[in-house]
């Protein structure tokens, strides 16, 4: 493993309150020196003039589809998509086939991730056996084999008693529980946000209250049990209002994320029956999007994620009501954050990066997401001046279902280093 000198870049490290043009030396997979001279010797020298040097992004919610649906994505193609977007650490959801409700799937994912060797992948396990919402999965085994959290992902635990016991049991083993908050009986076959747009399209809507009610249920049980609860991809005004109130009461065991599409786009993206805009939770109306942005600004939100969900083309070339849910996002997340939060002046670049680096790292308790001397050398270099049009055909992900298709975004990863090794140089992945 050689040494790398990153020269003359603007180092933005939110955790250490650092924002300055400087040099950074990497050695033995770690940050060895900051502020070293231009003439410092290194095996590789990256000229970062005009670029942002940031901790590699950490994404708490991706679907890599392996094992089981390698036609949609594999750990390799998903990792390549991550590198392309400057994401160096990803948390894999357990809805593979077989589901990650036992240690063998967790161990398989970790083994495959190491073999691919592009990014850090932390798997999650299921809360219930088969994500069926009936019986608890063996959480201790899941944790011991490497799961950083348990979640039933796209299927929320509907039974309140089971959810209470899941939280109590997760707490027993000091395991993070992630909830996708949805009340199935209220969703009732809804395929997009219920509102004026769903009425115009004649599509069954999912009311915001389906999410609001489930968030309240999860918060109340987290307050009761003291379990560490992370609420996935919040999309409604009600959800963030409840989370803000819980945090104000002093419940530090609660964290919350927003997926970048939920502040960038509204349900109007579904007009014309655009199946790329079909996802869960659905893209919401302006009122909710504004509340989400406000919650990001006021600190209610702890992380920004993608919910990267690749699908094969035939699953999206269907009537809207039958099309698969989800969008890819790993290759666009930084640019979406920068274009829709930083450029309009909602938050600073450092605050945006914080939500994509050290804050998510602390939720899953990994020592990553910052760039002090001795830190893991997971680094992404971004060009904030580059404007580009999203073309899914040119993406690394197998999934070409990207809701940002044809939009012009600003900001792009140029070089990516993971564990001290250069994985992408000038936009080209090096393996």
């Amino acid at each position: 493993m050689g040494t790398i000198l990153i020269k003359n870049g603007r180092l933005v490290d939110p955790k250490n309150n650092r924002d300055e043009v400087t040099n950074l030396l990497i050695s033995d997979g770690k940050v060895a020196e900051i502020g070293c001279t231009d003439t410092t010797e290194a095996d590789t020298v990256l000229d970062a003039t005009g670029l942002i040097v940031a901790p590699g992004l950490i994404d708490l919610q991706v679907h890599f589809r392996e094992p089981g649906r390698e036609d949609k994505e594999t750990i390799e193609t998903g990792s390549r998509a991550a590198v392309k977007g400057g994401v160096t650490t990803a948390v894999a959801m357990p809805n593979s086939n077989p589901k990650a409700d036992n240690q063998s799937v967790i161990e398989f994912v970790i083994k495959r991730a190491r073999k691919v060797g592009l990014i850090n992948i932390y798997p999650t396990g299921a809360i219930t056996k088969g994500q069926a919402g009936d019986v608890l999965a063996e959480m201790r085994e899941l944790k011991n084999s490497g799961a950083v959290a348990v979640t039933d992902d796209g299927v929320d635990v509907q039974d309140a008693l089971l959810l209470r016991r899941a939280m109590e049991y997760a707490k027993t083993h000091d395991l993070l529980l992630m909830s996708h908050c949805e009340t199935d009986s209220l969703t009732d076959g809804g395929v997009m946000h219920e509102g004026w747009v769903s009425t115009q399209l004649g599509l069954p809507g999912t009311p915001a209250v389906s999410e609001d009610l489930a968030v309240e249920k999860n918060l109340m049980l987290a307050k009761l049990t003291g379990a560490r609860l992370h609420i996935l991809h919040n999309s409604t005004k009600g959800a963030v209002t409840s989370i803000k109130a819980a945090k104000a009461q002093g419940f530090t065991n609660i964290t919350a994320e927003v997926s970048v599409q939920h502040f960038a786009l509204t349900d109007e993206a579904c007009l014309g029956y655009n199946t790329d805009a079909k996802m869960y939770p659905p893209l919401r109306s302006r009122e909710h999007v504004d509340a989400i942005i406000a919650a990001i600004k006021d600190g209610t939100i702890d992380a920004l994620t993608t919910d990267h969900a690749p699908h094969i083309e035939p699953e999206k070339l269907l009537p809207f009501i039958d099309a698969a849910m989800g969008s890819t996002g790993l290759e666009t997340s930084f640019a979406v954050m920068y274009t829709y939060l930083v450029q309009p002046g909602h938050i600073s670049l450092a605050d945006g990066l914080a939500l994509m680096t050290h804050k998510p790292a602390s939720i899953i308790r990994v020592k990553k997401g910052s760039l002090e001397v001795g830190a893991d050398a997971d680094i992404a270099l971004f060009d904030l001046k580059e404007e580009w049009v999203v073309d899914p055909k040119r993406m690394e992900s197998k999934g070409k279902n990207c809701v940002f298709k044809n939009l012009t975004l600003t900001g792009k990863a140029k070089h990516v280093i993971v564990g001290g090794e250069l994985k992408m140089q000038n936009g080209a992945i090096l393996q």
Binding site: S198, T199, L201, G202, G205, P207, P314, P319, F320, I321
Partner: protein, 331 residues
């Protein structure tokens, strides 16, 4: 005889074309489009079942992925009266049952060089999706709970002609019933709005879609209140097959609260008309005595106008005087 009819039609059309190549939503129509369609439809209405040659040599495929009897018959006979060859592709006979996607089915049919595809589906948006992938012109014959544009057109034509007016400004149209599951409503509300009508909707809250008032209408929970001063009473069917029950306790209670009775109909203006898209559930949507033979009922007139409107649209889409060709882009 048919030469005379064709000459009248050609004179009525006066070299005009519509602005669209496919019709999947009333939103696509301009006011001149609507005017043109209605003028020609009135002419076709007079021609009854005359066998014409205006569209001879062209093929229409009726793709009814959701079963239908009356609409399919109307589209099929309309094309035949215009001299076209037609064939039907249905739910139970189609390749969809074998797992073929809509896109593959319609692209195959498109390769037969058909000029017109009539699409009916139980899912919203299928006609729109098909229109963007085939070279044939696409006519939406009903997509899920979204729209049924030819129904909207025939309803508007019926209202204008039966009220003997050329504008709906100031006219009050009351729509009663299951709005939520109604594609008929989806097209009716859009065309009434374009023509300037005042729209009232009477239904229990469970039958109202979210933010429906944004169409520019007033909602009523009390049907009597809504009916006072109405020019048109338009009843919709409670769509049991679409799972509409569960939204109301019983059909009995619905009929008592919202069913159109003689007494309720008399709250409307003296010259008011009663309409329904069919099929009627007698004594639930409308009391039996009012259905077809009541002097206020225009239900069979709607059916007649349906064929006239469909003939007008088929002719306008199949024979373009401007020789414009549909821009074709595969998905």
């Amino acid at each position: 005889m048919s030469e005379v009819i064709e000459k009248t039609l050609i004179d009525t059309r006066a070299g005009r074309d519509v602005t669209f190549f496919d019709l999947y939503s009333i939103d696509q129509l301009t006011l001149p489009d609507i005017k043109l369609i209605f003028e020609i439809a009135r002419s076709f209405r007079e021609s009854k079942t005359a066998k014409l040659t205006l569209c001879k040599g062209n093929t229409q495929i009726n793709c009814f992925f959701e079963p239908s009897t009356r609409t399919q018959a109307s589209f099929d006979l309309s094309a035949k009266h215009l001299g076209m060859d037609t064939t039907n592709v249905g739910g139970s006979t189609s390749s969809a049952k074998k797992g073929e996607s809509y896109i593959d089915t319609v692209e195959t049919l498109d390769a037969y060089n058909v000029r017109l595809m009539v699409i009916r589906s139980s899912e919203a948006g299928v006609a729109h999706m098909v229109a963007s992938t085939v070279r044939a012109s696409v006519l939406n014959a009903g997509d899920g709970y979204h729209e049924h544009p030819t129904q909207g057109l025939l309803d508007a034509l019926t209202i204008l002609d039966e009220l003997k007016t050329d504008s709906l400004e100031g006219k009050v149209v009351v729509i009663v019933g299951d709005i939520l599951h109604s594609r008929v409503f989806g097209s009716l509300v859009r065309i009434l709005k374009k023509l300037g009508a005042t729209i009232r909707v009477a239904a229990p809250q469970t039958f109202l879609p979210a933010e429906v008032e944004k169409f520019g209408l007033t909602t009523y929970y009390n049907v009597e209140e809504a009916l006072i001063g109405a020019d048109v009473v338009y009843a919709l069917r409670v769509q049991e097959e679409r799972g509409a029950t569960g939204f109301i306790p019983t059909l009995r209670e619905y009929s008592k609260t919202f069913g159109i009775s003689e007494k309720r109909l008399n709250l409307a203006k003296p010259g008011a008309i009663l309409m329904h898209p069919g099929p009627v559930i007698r004594d639930i949507d409308i009391h039996s005595a009012l259905v077809s033979r009541h002097p206020k009922s225009r239900i069979l007139r709607q059916v007649e106008n349906g064929m006239a409107v469909r003939k007008a649209l088929i002719w306008l889409l199949v024979e373009r005087y401007d020789k414009k060709v549909k821009p074709h882009a595969y998905l």
